[in-house]
């Protein structure tokens, strides 16, 4: 769907993107992660043809990115805005027409979306009369109205209350089910794990990690488990099939420990060790979250 090859972008004095390559698969949700100032927005602007790279190419469905692709991309920038004095309906019609829709078609689709999001009575409202969250909703409609094949969302949930964030999330997932590829830029990791199929991690203008979310998390497994047991506290002597990493304290007669398996051991051997001695409340493998991987990776490089 989208193939980004060896992009370099320099601004006076600093490099925004240094040889970044990415592959976004068709129909998937792709997360572009990285701390503020890492180069995410620069990359997104290049995909949107707002700026051009100094070197490297972008391919859209196998074709070199060109003007004709503009109408097939929908872009919701992080810093978003609408004309304050213009009526919402007219404004979205205008933005949709800039993306190549006819006035008639745009009006029809806006009505559909407004009904769907239960904002039918907003048509003649001016932007300045709406709350920030309401503006975001309207802007979302403007982004998806021309039914883009590629939807680029920069921090789409910022500014929404939890209820509306959920509504928007469902809409994004539905669009994705209908075939839209979604490129999702964020520095909030927790949203990535439930939404994204694949991610790329960008830090200091370089890509430092990419791949499928599950595979990445798997590769960061390090045989660490959490065990909670009730009964008498066990003191470990070193002959167990694991090492104790941390004692996480006692709560109402239940103890929590963090363990790392010794080579050759598995979760069953942990249970076999515990069961004769205490009552096991819980055994859980500790797989690092994307957040932890992110922090670890960023600190490693940093």
């Amino acid at each position: 769907m989208l193939s980004i090859r060896h992009i370099v972008k320099q601004y006076a004095g600093h490099t925004a993107l240094n040889d970044v390559s990415l592959e976004v698969e068709s129909g998937k949700i792709f997360g572009l992660l990285g701390p503020n100032g890492a180069g995410k927005t620069s990359l997104i602007r290049i995909i949107n043809q707002i700026t051009a790279p100094d070197s490297g190419e972008v391919y859209f469905n196998g074709e070199r990115l060109n003007q004709s692709h503009i109408e097939r991309i929908g872009y919701l920038p992080e810093e978003r805005g609408l004309y304050k004095k213009m009526e919402i309906g007219e404004q979205i019609v205008y933005l949709a027409r800039l993306k190549g829709l006819s006035r008639h078609e745009a009006t029809k689709r806006i009505k559909y979306w407004f009904e769907k999001l239960q904002i039918e009575n907003w048509w003649h409202k001016k932007v300045e009369e709406l709350s920030k969250g309401m503006q975001q909703k309207a802007q979302f409609v403007a982004t998806v109205l021309h039914e883009p094949e590629l939807l680029i969302l920069d921090e789409p949930f910022s500014g929404f209350d939890p209820v509306n964030a959920e509504v928007i999330k469902d809409e994004i997932l539905e669009l994705n089910r209908k075939g839209a590829t979604i490129l999702f830029s964020t520095h909030r990791m927790e949203s990535v794990e439930e939404l994204c199929d694949s991610i790329a991690l960008i830090n200091k203008s370089q890509k430092i990690l990419d791949g499928k979310v599950k595979a990445i998390r798997k590769s960061y497994r390090n045989d660490t488990y959490l065990v909670e047991y009730a009964g008498e506290q066990i003191s470990f002597n070193g002959n167990e099939p694991f090492e104790q990493l941390a004692e996480l304290g006692e709560d109402d007669g239940a103890y929590m420990v963090k363990l790392k398996l010794k080579p050759g051991a598995d979760s069953n051997s942990v249970l076999q060790y515990f069961i004769p001695r205490v009552r096991v409340n819980m055994l859980q493998e500790v797989i690092p979250t994307m957040h932890e991987i992110f922090i670890e990776k960023v600190n490693q490089i940093g």
Binding site: A12, R45, I50, I70, P77, G81
Partner: protein
């Protein structure tokens, strides 16, 4: 191209639909009419004497008394009383004036007129004229020259009436009307370039601070957006001028029907001006001057985050036009073919104002042609420069822009 049309349409409609625009269309011609009426009223008040004014002459020399003759609404009477007594009657009645000619009369020194209110200008001119005539006649008499002959010789009244030689025959011209039209066109162009240029700038800043710019330029090229905005606002300006012209003509016709002499004179003076030619040039110089400057204004708008930051850029940009404007209304129209005037009317940055002032004085055709050609080159040039700054500027936030920074942006690659 289709997208530029869409942008033009939006920029145009959002402005034209504003209530303030509609109000301005009607208010400005009304204001001009009202101003004309007020000026006329005031001129009438001070220019004509409408009721009978009496001038009591207290003549200590005896040389003037009895020689004043009455004119409509001014009656002269000689009083043989003291000055103090005469003043008393002037104090009681405001239509009575006391003219006091002292015994030590000196024809070079002013003499006094006493009254309750300020004497109207025609009254004092009338007195001055008559006294001068009397003093001269008295002097002739002293030299034993026959005043009848002198009066006969002095019966001339010469005034100059300009007639312009043209190929279609001699025609009456009105220099005053020409200068008036030239200067008012120049003022109008000067003001409207700034008014509409500032609107472009404000529009750019609005898009930038609203952050809608990023959404829009993910659909169109920054250059298209800038061009659409400039053309859209320019059309608003032309619409406004068009409406004003139509309304003024209608208003003048209506006023003309009430057959006031002043307006008829004004209209006949106007008719000596090649109206179509001036109007055509006005539209050309407004359009090209506006395009030239508004591109620069757009670039300034793109470089800043708020209107308050525009000051440092506005001054150097507005300087050439301001300079020409001041020169135009003060000296250029007195020397329309001086080298300064010619150069100013050819340099694109100053031509819109300078050429409008020169036009009524029939500058050589080649100068108009060169000036117009350079205007086109000029606005293509500024639009090119501005678009290169604009495309970078609109995406820059929180960076303090300076001229050095702007020149860097100019050389950025895409």
């Amino acid at each position: 191209m289709n997208k530029v049309l869409l942008i033009i349409q939006r920029e145009y409609l959002t402005r034209v639909k504003k209530r303030s625009f509609v109000i301005m269309i009607f208010v400005v011609p009304l204001l001009i009419l009202a101003m004309g009426a007020v000026i006329k009223f005031i001129a009438k008040k001070s220019g004509e004497i409408t009721s009978l004014q009496t001038v009591n002459v207290v003549d200590s020399t005896g040389a003037f008394a009895g020689q004043f003759h009455n004119v409509p609404n001014i009656k002269f009477q000689t009083l043989n009383v003291t000055l103090a007594q005469a003043k008393l009657s002037s104090k009681e009645n405001e239509d009575v004036f006391t003219l006091y000619i002292p015994a030590k009369f000196n024809p070079k020194a002013p003499i006094q007129i006493y009254s309750k209110k300020k004497p109207p200008l025609p009254l004092t001119t009338q007195i001055e004229k008559q006294m001068n005539d009397i003093a001269i006649a008295n002097s002739f008499k002293e030299q034993h020259i026959d005043t009848a002959i002198v009066n006969h010789i002095r019966k001339t009244d010469i005034s100059v009436s300009p007639v312009e030689l043209t190929e279609t025959g001699d025609k009456k011209t009105s220099m005053g009307a020409n200068i008036g039209v030239g200067i008012s066109c120049a003022i109008l162009i000067y003001m409207s370039i700034f008014i509409y240029g500032a609107q472009v700038m404000r529009g750019v800043i609005e898009e930038k601070t609203n952050r809608i710019i990023e959404v829009v330029i993910s659909s169109v090229k920054p250059f298209q957006l800038m061009l659409g905005k400039i053309i859209g606002v320019g059309l608003v300006g032309l619409t406004q001028f068009g409406a004003w012209t139509v309304l003024s003509v209608v208003a003048a016709k209506v006023a003309g029907q009430s057959s006031q002499v002043g307006i008829m004179n004004f209209l006949s003076a106007i008719q000596t001006i090649p109206f179509g030619f001036i109007l055509g040039c006005f539209v050309f110089y407004f359009t090209s001057g506006y395009l030239l400057y508004s591109a620069l204004f757009a670039a300034v708008g793109s470089a800043v985050d708020s209107e308050t930051e525009t000051q440092q850029f506005m001054f150097p940009i507005t300087l050439p036009l301001l300079f020409t404007y001041i020169l135009s209304v003060s000296v250029l129209f007195q020397a329309p073919n001086s080298p300064l005037a010619v150069w100013l009317s050819i340099i694109p940055f100053t031509a819109p104002v300078a050429m409008m002032v020169r036009l009524p004085f029939d500058p050589p055709v080649w100068q108009i042609a060169v000036s117009m050609a350079l205007m086109v080159v000029g606005f293509l040039f500024t639009t090119y420069v501005a678009s290169r700054i604009y495309r970078v500027g609109v995406l820059m936030y929180g960076k303090k822009a300076s001229f050095k920074e702007l020149s860097k942006w100019f050389f950025y690659k895409e």
